[in-house]
C-alpha cells in the first residue's frame, strides 16, 4: 500500500449478541484479503474471544491484545499471519483477562499504529454497550451494524446507532444477517424495508441464513472462501461494496440448488 495513505478502521457492532458480528468480521476481513488488501482483524471481545476459532488460528496464539497494551511484546509479535492468505492478520483478544484490561485511549493508539501499515482494520466488537463496546468504537473510522430480522435485535441496533452518532461515528452502514426468505414471504419474519424504515441507515448488504456458516465456523474456514455457499456470495458482495464498488443486492430466493431441483422435476415429472 502507498506509504502516505492511512488505512481505514471499521468496527463491526450490533448491541445484541449472537447476530453474527464475529462471523461478519472474519468474512469481511478474509474477503478483503482475497481481493489483495492488507487486513488486520482485531478481536475486541476480551475474556470471550472467538474470532481466532472462527478463523482457524487458535493454536497459533502466543501474544494477545492485552500483552500489546501492557507492553509485554511488540505489536508485530502479537499479529498472527493467516494460514491461507498472505496479507491477512489476526490480533487476538485475551482469554484470561476481562474488559477492564483495555482503555479507549489505548485502543486509539493501537489502531492508529495498525492503520499506518495496513489497508483495513476490522474490529470485532463485543455485544452490549458497556466498556468493551466503548473501547471498540474508540479507534474506529467507520461502523457497520449487524442485525437479524428480529424486533429485539433491531431495537438494540437502534440504540447502538444512537450511541455511535453521539460519539461522532456518523453514517454507520447496515448488514441484515440470517434472513430466511421463506419466512419473510409468509409474513413471519420482518422484511428488509421495515428494518431500514426504523433504523434509517444505508444498507451495505444482506446475508441469508445458511447452514454453510455453521460448517465453516467449525472448520475454521470463513464461508466467504466457499464458492458454492450463498452466504459466501453475500459476504463477497459486501466486501466489494466496502471497497466502493456498486453491487446489486443478492436475490435470496433463487439459488443454484432450487434451480437444479426444478430442472429435475421437469425431467422426471415428479
Amino acid at each position: 500500500m502507498a506509504k502516505d495513505k492511512m488505512g481505514t478502521a471499521i468496527v463491526i457492532t450490533s448491541g445484541k449478541g449472537g447476530v453474527g458480528k464475529t462471523t461478519t468480521s472474519a468474512n469481511i476481513g478474509t474477503g478483503l484479503a482475497i481481493l489483495g488488501y492488507s487486513v488486520v482483524v482485531l478481536d475486541a471481545d476480551i475474556g470471550l474471544r472467538n474470532l481466532d476459532v472462527v478463523m482457524g488460528l487458535e493454536n497459533r496464539i502466543v501474544y494477545d491484545i492485552v500483552d500489546v497494551v501492557e507492553k509485554n511484546c511488540k505489536l508485530k509479535q502479537a499479529l498472527i499471519k493467516d494460514k491461507r492468505y498472505e496479507k491477512l492478520y489476526l490480533l487476538p483478544a485475551a482469554q484470561t483477562k476481562d474488559k477492564t484490561a483495555v482503555k479507549p485511549e489505548q485502543m486509539v493508539e493501537l489502531v492508529g499504529e495498525l492503520k499506518k501499515t495496513h489497508d483495513y482494520i476490522i474490529i470485532d466488537s463485543p455485544a452490549g454497550i458497556e466498556q468493551g463496546f466503548q473501547y471498540s468504537i474508540a479507534g474506529a473510522d467507520r461502523g457497520i451494524i449487524v442485525t437479524t430480522p428480529e424486533i429485539s435485535a433491531v431495537r438494540d441496533a437502534d440504540r447502538v446507532i444512537g450511541i455511535l452518532e453521539a460519539n461522532e461515528l456518523h453514517d454507520p452502514q447496515l448488514i441484515i444477517n440470517r434472513i430466511r426468505p421463506d419466512m419473510v414471504k409468509r409474513g413471519d419474519m420482518m422484511n428488509m424495508d421495515d428494518i431500514i424504515d426504523i433504523l434509517a441507515i444505508d444498507l451495505i448488504g444482506i446475508v441469508p441464513d445458511d447452514e454453510s456458516i455453521v460448517i465453516s465456523t467449525n472448520k475454521g474456514e470463513p464461508v466467504v472462501m466457499d464458492e458454492k455457499a450463498l452466504a459466501g456470495k453475500a459476504y463477497r458482495n459486501i466486501v466489494r461494496r466496502i471497497t466502493g464498488e456498486e453491487v446489486e443486492l443478492l436475490n435470496l430466493e433463487e439459488n443454484d440448488e432450487s434451480k437444479f431441483s426444478k430442472v429435475l422435476k421437469l425431467i422426471f415429472g415428479k
Partner: protein, 215 residues
C-alpha cells in the same frame, strides 16, 4: 345584590377558592351548587388553595377536605401563595371560554432528526419532532407533542396534570401514550391509518381521532 360567599378565582398559576365570612353551613351550600354547574371544568386546572380572611383554620381545613374527597380536587398546596392574595384576577366565567395557557400557546422545543431507542427529550412546554421517534425513545412534555413522522416510542404529554394536552403524529403507533394522568396502550389491531392522527382526552378517556374531523 348580595355578594357570593364562595367564589372561584383564576390566576396565572391556577385557581383558588375565595370565601367570605365564616358560616360553614352557608359555605357548603354554595359550594355544592357551584360544583354542580362547573366541577368538570376545574379538574384540569391546578388548585392553589382556599383563601378567606375571616375563615378559621378549622373551617378552612374542613373545606379543603370537602374539595378533595367529595369533589375530587387535587390539593397540592396547603396555603394560598402570597402573590395570589395580592394579585388582581379575572372572574370565573371568563375562564370557562379559555383553555389552559400552555396548550394554546407556549414555548416549544423543536427536535430535528430521528429519536433513537434510549434517547429522551424532556421539555417544560410543547415538543415538535421533525423525524421519527423509534421504539425505546421517550418524549416528555408539559404541553403538546407533535411528531412529523412515525411515533413508535413513548410519548408523555400534559405532565403536571394538563388534560388538554394532545399528542399528534403522521403515524401514531406508540408503545405507550400518556396524557396528564392517563396511560393508554395502543389497540391490538394492526390497522394502519393513512392520515395523521391526534390523541386527546375526551370525557375522561383518551381518544384517537383523525387530525381533522371530516377525514
Amino acid at each position: 345584590m348580595r355578594k357570593d360567599v364562595v367564589s372561584i378565582k383564576g390566576v396565572a398559576g391556577g385557581i383558588y377558592l375565595n370565601v367570605e365570612g365564616n358560616d360553614l353551613g352557608q359555605i357548603k351550600t354554595e359550594l355544592e351548587s357551584k360544583m354542580k354547574t362547573a366541577s368538570n371544568f376545574f379538574k384540569g386546572s391546578k388548585f392553589l388553595g382556599v383563601r378567606g380572611e375571616d375563615l378559621t383554620e378549622e373551617n378552612r381545613v374542613e373545606i379543603m377536605l370537602l374539595l378533595k374527597y367529595k369533589y375530587d380536587f387535587e390539593i397540592q398546596i396547603e396555603k394560598v401563595p402570597d402573590h395570589v392574595v395580592k394579585d388582581n384576577y379575572e372572574p370565573v366565567k371568563e375562564m370557562i371560554a379559555a383553555e389552559p395557557e400552555v396548550v394554546q400557546e407556549g414555548m416549544t422545543k423543536f427536535v430535528h432528526g430521528t429519536l433513537r431507542s434510549g434517547q429522551e427529550v424532556s421539555y417544560n412546554g410543547n415538543i415538535v419532532v421533525i423525524g421519527d421517534v423509534n421504539p425505546g425513545a421517550l418524549l416528555k412534555a408539559k404541553g403538546n407533542i407533535v411528531v412529523l413522522g412515525s411515533l413508535r416510542g413513548v410519548a408523555q404529554a400534559g405532565i403536571g396534570g394538563n388534560r388538554h394536552a394532545v399528542v399528534a403524529a403522521y403515524s401514531l403507533l406508540p408503545t405507550q401514550l400518556r396524557i396528564a394522568d392517563y396511560i393508554v396502550r395502543p389497540p391490538e389491531d394492526d390497522i394502519q391509518y393513512k392520515y395523521p392522527e391526534i390523541a386527546r382526552v375526551v370525557d375522561g378517556a383518551v381518544v384517537i381521532e383523525p387530525y381533522l374531523p371530516n377525514k
